[in-house]
């Protein structure tokens, strides 16, 4: 469309105005107040806050559990997407619908259900307790909750790519004598890897900020099982807004970095595919 092109469709001003007003009230003004509040804090205070032992420990807990959970979801997501796209079996539609459950089920409900399942008296917890493995109130428990939260991301990212993937290449590779595992590694995996990484990134970002499902199962022991969102929450409850904001900034920057990386890979990938 040319720059000088006159707008034919009416209502540009009105719809732009409504959009910007609503965006300002809900997103821009609150975000701006975060910026204003941050600007009033001194850099040394911010650094002092985020390098407290307890805060650093929470970063370690949050990042490591979110990373492991997203990794599990990346592998299981590829398997689930593969099964849902390539195979036919009874109950497939139900399985497909179930994937979306973590989006529909309130996180608090997921949290208490998983806690009661994996505690020493729970169905799964009692089984593992026999081997001396505790799940609830440990980092394993946090990881379990985060796996639950992250399930749909990788599946829903990989599924459309697999659907579009032409089986011709696999068949060609097969005819030329490649083994099935080699076909998967060298033909299929390179095609779905960017999508899987996108799903992994989205899940990782979501897991880093997750609160509802984790607070119940985590046990919230300082230094051991205390996640960063929980520290922000407790600073807020003590009306220490400066500390809460300083720690939140770290999480925000991490979230935006992840999003940036995901977008980078996505746009590079669509360029390759679009050619």
């Amino acid at each position: 469309m040319k720059k000088t092109h006159k707008r034919v469709i009416p209502m540009f001003g009105l719809s732009m105005g409504v959009t910007l007003t609503m965006l300002s009230v809900i997103v821009l003004i609150p975000l701006a107040s975060l910026v204003v509040f941050t600007a009033q804090m001194s850099l040394s205070d911010i650094i002092e806050t985020i390098t407290r032992e307890r805060v650093l420990a929470s970063f370690r807990v949050s990042f490591s559990t979110a990373f492991i959970a997203s990794l599990i979801n990346a592998v299981m997501g590829i398997v689930l997407a593969w099964v849902l796209v390539r195979y036919d079996f009874p109950g497939k539609r139900i399985l497909d619908g179930m994937i979306e459950l973590p989006f529909a089920l309130p996180t608090a409900v997921a949290g208490i259900a998983l806690t009661s399942l994996t505690s020493d008296k729970g169905m799964i917890g009692s089984f593992f307790a026999r081997f001396g493995i505790k799940i609830a109130y440990t980092r394993i428990g946090i990881t379990v909750a985060l796996v639950f939260i992250g399930i749909p991301f990788v599946v829903r990212a990989v599924q459309p790519v697999l659907e579009k993937l032409d089986p011709v290449y696999e068949e060609a590779a097969g005819v030329m004598g490649a083994s099935r595992s080699r076909i998967f590694r060298q033909v299929i995996l390179p095609e779905i890897a960017p999508a899987a990484f996108t799903g992994f990134g989205l899940a990782f970002g979501r897991c880093l900020g997750e609160y509802g499902s984790v607070v119940f199962i985590a046990g919230n022991q300082p230094f051991e099982t205390e996640i960063t969102p929980l520290i922000i929450m407790s600073e807020l409850q003590e009306y220490d807004y400066s500390s809460a904001t300083a720690i939140a900034l770290v999480m925000l920057i991490a979230a935006f970095l992840i999003l940036f990386l995901v977008n980078l890979i996505q746009s590079r990938n669509s360029k390759i595919l679009g050619r």
């Binding site: 469709i9 965006l23 107040s33 529909a104 996180t107 009661s116 639950f148 900020g209 997750e210 807020l236």
Partner: protein, 274 residues
């Protein structure tokens, strides 16, 4: 297609087995747990917990916040999708990025920014105080937080559909003299009907279950600023497990209804070609 060999059949059923087992343990078992724990002390206790005064009040507040989120984000979604897809202007990329900010922010941080905007240390606070408006630890805060976390849910579903459709039909209608409202209702909306409904369902699902952001802004005043998920938290932390799971079962049923609605909308939408 090539013939299935014994090896590929084995792989197929092993992978299906792993998938089903994974979904069963991670997704189905928690649902079953909620129901069995809720009914542990019998039907009478369950009914008592569900019809408890505070539960009912929490349910009403959840419905209120969900409705507010759906209505507000419907208006925003329709206008934003129309603006972004029917016109070309500078800064469009920035606009779509900003619309997506709420879903990338941790719910706790979402709560925090509203506390900073409307709380005691905000420059707005004296004016709000003078007007006798309370946002933090009050219902308006809960509604704002819910709207925030679901903000892009409807526009996000509409924009790709409208983008794929282009602007030819709308331009033709405009040249023939139709006004904006007519163009929207007669030309544009029929194309996005299903995507719109889909967005509404996703928005409602997230809104009714929002926990973190609402938790920051609620102050947990029982009967006043408690939503269903917060009520679940309080009961659970008070070791009232049966009532906690009973209240959860309401949310589980709502989640199942939403999942079914989602599948039906997706199915019908695909069948009708959009």
């Amino acid at each position: 297609m090539h013939k299935e060999t014994f090896g590929s059949k084995l792989t197929k059923w092993v992978l299906i087995g792993i998938s089903v087992l994974f979904v069963f343990i991670m997704l189905v078992l928690p649902l079953i747990t909620v129901i069995t724990e809720a009914l542990r002390s019998g039907w009478e206790t369950y009914k008592e917990a569900v019809s408890d005064e505070y539960t009912v009040k929490a349910a009403l507040l959840t419905v209120e916040a969900t409705l507010a989120a759906v209505i507000f984000n419907t208006i925003f979604g329709l206008f934003a999708a129309w603006t972004v897809t029917k016109f070309s202007f500078r800064g469009k990329k920035l606009l779509t990025t900003l619309i997506d900010v709420p879903v990338t922010v941790s719910p706790i941080i979402a709560g925090l920014i509203f506390v900073l905007t409307f709380g005691r240390q905000s420059f707005l606070y004296p004016y709000l105080e003078a007007a006798d408006i309370r946002v933090v630890f009050a219902v308006p805060g809960i509604i704002l937080a819910t709207v925030f976390v679901t903000f892009p849910f409807i526009s996000r579903e509409l924009i790709p559909v409208l983008e794929a459709h282009g602007t030819d039909e709308e331009e033709a209608a405009a040249l023939m003299g139709a006004n904006g409202f007519t163009i929207f209702t007669k030309v544009t909306f029929p194309h996005i009907k299903w995507a719109f409904l889909y967005g509404v369902v996703l928005c409602a699902a997230r809104a009714m279950g929002e926990f973190g952001a609402v938790s920051v802004l609620s102050g947990h005043l029982r009967g006043k600023t408690n939503t269903l998920p917060l009520h679940v938290e309080i009961l659970f932390n008070e070791f009232k497990y049966v009532p906690a799971f009973a209240v959860s079962s309401i949310l589980v049923m709502m989640a199942i209804v939403i999942l079914i609605a989602r599948s039906v909308i997706e199915y019908v939408g695909k069948k009708n070609g959009d």
